[in-house]
């Protein structure tokens, strides 16, 4: 082991500054160590982790990473930051080889040290204000071309689906009536009656988590929206585990139990892998018929909310589709049809595909932008069917 590094005083401002800069560098690459993690990292340096490169890497990884995605990307970012200057590193970060960033000199204390090949000007360009977010939330997904904005929307869709679970609190609240005795409160109340259980208190019934059956149209006409909807569904299924998801175009495909466990990169791979197979003409009526015959009995009950993400463009006639939708609606608690093209129709304008279908759906919604997707999420979690 080389003793050169041992000569570095680990508590010197330089080392702490480098650690802070490294944390900033990670943040710019979507790994977000907090202040406590930086303090821990400084402490581990004092505990002998700075002596060897591997040790430092393992220690910092434990402190700075918070999930599997962070864990897998950390090594590459560590190499980029801590390698000697002018080293060319093959990396997937932002899809290019980058030179190791030159560390800020002592005089540049607090300045950023480069972001995996991205200049600070570029990073500044990417910073968005509140107004930009509002504009983005109203933008139709099909008009978002900028890769950074696309990424931002994907992240917001993820967050929207994940946070939906938080609005569904399951804490058992106290109540005057009920079937389950709140022993703790009842005994407290019985003290003044010398232990006689005169004043009974109950716990309200625990709310059951909702279950969804999500069917997404992945045909050519839905190409722009299908990717985002799949992402949304995947995250929604992580939050509500009783749910099932299916994709359809010319045939119905069950997305399976492992679908909701996919990480961001796995989901991306799966979507790209299946895209060629999925794209093509649409047979909604036939797909729904298959669903009604093979899956509906096991997956849809009077407590299930069924959501169909489709523009309704079918090779069959609407008259063939309508009975399948009606059968599904009778079986489910509520049926929501999400048509991303809905926003394009003017009021009173006729939609030859969907007009015959809408009488059989409980809610007919658009989800062409973040705002409408948010309304959809609200509908999904509302306790009453319309």
């Amino acid at each position: 082991m080389s003793s050169t590094a041992a000569g570095l005083a680990v508590s010197t401002p330089q080392i702490e500054e480098r650690l802070q800069n490294f944390a900033l560098f990670l943040r710019e690459n979507d790994i977000t160590p907090g202040p406590a993690a930086i303090i821990d990292a400084a402490r581990l340096c004092r505990e002998g982790f700075l002596i060897e490169r591997q040790l430092l890497k393992h220690g910092l990884r434990s402190c700075f990473c918070h999930c599997a995605d962070d864990w897998h990307r950390f090594e590459e970012l560590f190499e980029i930051y801590w390698s000697p200057p002018d080293t060319v590193i093959e990396t997937d970060v932002q899809g290019q080889s980058v030179e190791a960033p030159t560390l800020a000199t002592q005089g540049d204390s607090g300045s950023l040290v480069g972001f995996a090949g991205t200049s600070s000007q570029q990073m500044e360009d990417k910073l968005a204000g509140a107004g930009d977010f509002k504009a983005l939330s109203l933008a139709d997904f099909r008009f978002v071309f900028d890769p950074y904005e696309k990424q931002l929307i994907e992240k917001m869709v993820d967050d929207l689906a994940r946070r939906s679970r938080r609005s569904w609190m399951r804490r058992r609240v106290k109540s005057r009536r009920g079937s389950s005795l709140d022993t703790r409160t009842t005994i407290k109340k019985s003290v003044r009656f010398q232990g006689q259980l005169m004043d009974l208190r109950f716990l309200a019934r625990q709310r059951k988590l909702p279950s969804f059956v999500l069917l997404v149209d992945v045909s050519q006409s839905m190409e722009v929206y299908a990717k985002l909807f799949l992402r949304y569904i995947c995250r929604l299924m992580q939050a509500f585990r009783q749910s099932e998801a299916f994709a359809f175009n010319t045939e119905l495909l069950q997305l399976g139990s492992g679908f909701h466990q996919m990480s961001e990169s796995e989901l991306e791979d799966a979507i790209n892998k299946n895209q060629q197979r999925w794209l093509g003409g649409t047979k909604i009526a036939r797909s729904l018929e298959t669903f009604n015959q093979q899956y509906a009995r096991h997956t849809v009950s009077r407590t299930t909310t069924v959501v169909i993400f489709s523009d309704g463009c079918d090779t069959a006639t609407p008259e063939e589709l309508a009975p399948q939708v009606a059968a599904l609606q009778r079986r489910a608690r509520q049926l929501i049809w999400v048509n991303p093209l809905l926003g394009r129709f003017k009021e009173g304008e006729k939609d030859p595909y969907m007009d015959p279908i809408t009488p059989f759906v409980d809610r007919y919604r658009s989800a062409h932008n973040l705002q409408s997707l948010q309304l959809l999420t609200h509908d999904l979690l509302s306790s009453r069917a319309s």
């Binding site: 821990d40 505990e47 060897e52 393992h58 801590w82 390698s83 200057p85 560390l103 703790r184 010398q194």
Partner: protein, 345 residues
């Protein structure tokens, strides 16, 4: 482990400057000897740990923070807690999480039957509000408190290993309960006050990433991810856990499982499954799989856990294809090709 010293991408001058500045300060000792010692102790308990995991466990000790371990089922997450308890010769307190787990099952509960009895015995001739108050103080005391795993770990006089297993199975509300315990090592009981830890427990949380854990919980923990082991590591695990196994059988079993993990299965076998399977082969007195491929077929139940996977593997020639497929053992850390009669031993 690399011998390379840390070389932050600074220019040489500033490094020398820093070195000269720090000449008067004592040079920090490397943590490596402590890590080596910890790795050796883990190996004695039969747990084969990678250097990065050993580093995380050491950090957990130094920083006194919980360690959140994520990874696929059967890669040895729970085993770490057992091994730690063995090493330190302390108790292992386990809290198995499930949907609906609440404070009564995780933190504490009052002994209601005893409280009621005490109330009825003492309360018959007491009617004033002062009497009621003193009765209430009496029944809400330590004597009537049932300590559940979290409180038991906090109030243990000696440090214990607290395993919060499969935390992702519990509801988000339960995570909020954990926050106070994990950040301050204390539990608040409204009727009694706050229990502060007598000794800081070593806390291991495991998760199969079924559900996304909250940022608040993640921030309070160190993090470690355990992947499926490399062929070499898995072979070492099999050797350590099944000392009676022949070298050929261990090699072939690991070879087969490593190849099997490349297949698209509903449930990919973990190390636990490899050990179960190797143990069942050992019990059947099999020493070489090459001559008896039908044995693989009849013992697959130890390895695959769903009917669909079993049917898939039992289709024509699948087992033979996987067994004779691209061999996985050789080299260091990842699956690679093995040529001829090479072995890893």
């Amino acid at each position: 482990m690399s011998d390379e010293s840390v070389s932050p991408n600074d220019n040489q001058t500033s490094t020398r400057q820093a070195a000269s500045e720090s000449a008067s300060q004592p040079a920090p000792m490397s943590a490596q000897p402590q890590l080596d010692s910890l790795a050796a102790k883990l190996a004695e308990t039969g747990y084969v740990a990678d250097p990065d995991l050993v580093a995380s466990l050491h950090l957990m000790e130094v920083l006194q923070k919980p360690l959140l371990i994520e990874g696929e089922a059967g890669v040895g997450k729970t085993g770490i807690a057992r091994a730690l308890a063995d090493i330190h010769g302390c108790d292992l307190i386990r809290l198995q999480c499930y949907e609906g787990l609440d404070a009564q099952h995780a933190l504490y509960e009052w002994d209601y039957q005893r409280q009621l009895l005490a109330l009825q015995l003492t309360g018959s001739n007491k009617n004033t509000s002062e009497d009621n108050l003193s009765t209430q103080q009496q029944i809400y005391s330590d004597d009537y408190l049932l300590k559940r795993p979290l409180l038991a770990a906090i109030s243990s006089p000696t440090p214990v290993v607290l395993l919060i297993d499969e935390v992702d199975r519990a509801d988000e509300e339960f995570e909020a309960l954990l926050l106070e315990t994990l950040s301050d090592f204390q539990v608040s009981v409204p009727e009694l006050g706050t229990f502060k830890a007598h000794s800081i427990p070593r806390v291991i949380l495991t998760s199969n990433a079924i559900r996304e854990l909250s940022d608040a919980l993640r921030r309070r923990c160190l993090y470690h991810y355990i992947d499926y082991p490399s062929a070499r590591k898995e072979l070492n695990i099999v050797r350590a856990r099944l000392p009676g196994i022949s070298e050929d059988l261990a090699l072939q079993a690991v070879w087969f499982v490593q190849n099997l993990r490349r297949e698209t299965l509903r449930k990919t076998p973990g190390v636990a499954e490899t050990l179960d399977w190797a143990a069942s082969l050992l019990a059947m007195k099999i020493h070489n799989l090459e001559d008896s491929l039908d044995v693989i077929d009849s013992t697959l139940a130890s390895l695959v856990k769903t009917r669909a996977d079993l049917l898939h593997l039992r289709s024509d020639g699948e087992v033979e294809r996987i067994f004779k497929g691209n061999p996985a053992i050789e080299g260091g850390d990842g699956p690679a090709h093995k040529t001829g009669q090479e072995s890893t031993s």
